[in-house]
Symmetry: C2
Subunit: 319 residues, 2 copies
């Protein structure tokens, strides 16, 4: 049974009378808070051999664990504040491991102005498991949602797409290439928190790209009851990604189905595009138009001549 079906059948009935849960369809939950603000809560888990490879350096685990949750905050337009960690680690975990892990947490705390506030740890011999809860806040009139894309909106992504996917293939040894940039992009997500905050109130709809560009755009379409059209060649690629996909004849569709980008994917009414471009310049971050929201009920890819391209594997769902 797929995760989405399981959520629909067993978990959604538990949240029927609970608006803060957003029907379990968005990146975070939105709880009542002080006047004019909402409390934003997200909880994500990462597990060895599912979300990260065995023997991943503790500093990269810290980056990934915080990164996936910071990215959820960004997708909601929220300012992250507090985080809580639960970890299950083998008895053999060394003091050096803890030192490296917490050293990186110190750095991330400074970068994002967040603080550890609680948690739990368990000694257990088996694959490592981490769960992180992050709590932030957002002005009620600047919340970004996943289910509010409008027909006629243009679709944008931040940064470049597919680097983390290629970095993972390198880390797994499936691509024999020692590209430090791509590996770093896989190991060190750069959640777009400042971007999310600035986009609040200006754009129509946002999510972060964690499952893959196509899968996450699919979620936007499903929740918003719209379709989308993407021009494949407009997808922004880093120079390293361009070189690698040429050298190894990798299909672009593989990149847009790979996970772990942690960029923002958002939709904007045409009249607000200029302001969005200005924000990109302020942050020195590429914001690229890749397509538009349509009234169809499907997600279509086009080549630069406007011809349809078969989607193939639609994104990536954790097994």
């Amino acid at each position: 049974m797929k995760e989405f079906k399981r959520i629909d059948r067993f978990l959604k009935p538990l949240v029927i009378d609970n608006p803060p849960a957003l029907n379990l369809e968005d990146d975070c939950a939105l709880l009542p808070y002080t006047e004019g603000k909402k409390l934003v809560v997200t909880k994500d888990a990462i597990v060895e051999n599912v979300h990260f490879l065995p023997n991943t350096a503790p500093k990269y685990l810290a980056r990934k664990l915080l990164g996936v949750n910071l990215s959820d905050m960004a997708a909601q337009g929220a300012t992250p504040l507090y985080y809580f960690i639960a970890a299950s680690l083998p008895k053999s975990t060394t003091e050096q491991w803890w030192q490296n892990f917490t050293d990186e947490l110190h750095l991330i705390q400074q970068e994002y102005a967040i603080v550890l506030t609680g948690g739990d740890s368990v000694s257990h011999d088996g694959d490592m498991f981490f769960s992180l809860t992050m709590i932030g806040e957002v002005d009620a009139d600047k919340i970004l949602y996943r289910n509010t894309a409008k027909i006629g909106d243009n679709i944008f992504v931040s940064g470049t797409i597919g680097d983390a996917y290629l970095g993972l293939q390198i880390a797994k040894g499936e691509i024999k290439e020692d590209d430090a940039f791509l590996k770093e992009r896989y190991h060190v997500p750069h959640p777009r928190v400042s971007l999310g905050i600035k986009l609040g109130g200006l754009i129509d709809c946002a999510t972060d790209i964690s499952d893959g560009l196509l899968a996450d755009l699919g979620h936007i379409c499903d929740c918003s009851k719209v379709g989308a059209e993407i021009e494949l060649e407009s997808i922004p690629l880093s120079p390293s990604a361009k070189q690698t996909i040429e050298k190894y004849s990798i299909d672009l569709r593989e990149l847009v189905s790979g996970g772990d980008d942690y960029e923002l994917l958002f939709t904007v009414a045409p009249e607000n595009e200029e302001k969005v471009e200005k924000i990109g310049k302020e942050l020195n971050l590429a914001l690229t138009k890749i397509g538009c929201i349509t009234s169809s009920n499907s997600l279509n890819l086009r080549d630069k001549n406007g011809e349809g391209v078969a989607i193939g594997q639609k994104g990536y769902e954790h097994k």
Copy 2:
């Protein structure tokens, strides 16, 4: 390296400038909230083969997972409101499992007026892992703390002690006794949420008994920088527990070192004891005086003649 040492050395430096974390020494964290109130957050994990036996029925997993966190809320005097689940479950997990698990969540939601609000689930073949985050609220002047026991306070516990420990021995087959009451007490914690709320503002200090009466009293003493004296024979036992320890010659000290009671352990100034007794009657819940807080720096056991009894194993710390 023991959990407490690890927290002291690696995690406490991360919360130095963060008062809501309560120096990671209490049951929950206390975040700024609306005027006159604090937001209360707790996060606990339970793992197969550490906190529960393989093949534990899903309804008991739901009870345990929610119970440990509801009990933390009770220990802080808080009203629980929202919960978030992260779970890692084998691919072979059946729809029936999900049905039974979520049916029990429905019941618990009704009993405690709480609602599922978000989470994450991962398919992973290995021991089951659950992390739960619970969010509640408390009036700022009714918060219960772990580090505020005062010399001269009397020490109370709710309910009866050791039932869950004996229930676990039965479930593991180490005691060959089919006592339904004790097994149920192990599988179905009864977190004392109503009691915690009523004690707020009246008592000096509280924690819940999750690691064992002695270990948790030790935490109170460490945090409050006081000592304690317990009269072993005054510890309240259920009829089933009395029968079982007599029949199998089980040392009382084993019971006060066993975990999973999820009763409240609290300290009260003598002048407030009458009010505490009244609350016990209102809730139809035994509240038993078992000792007092002292100015020594140790935790001592006495028999009914006032003679010292060696403590032996001091509580229980997860390996």
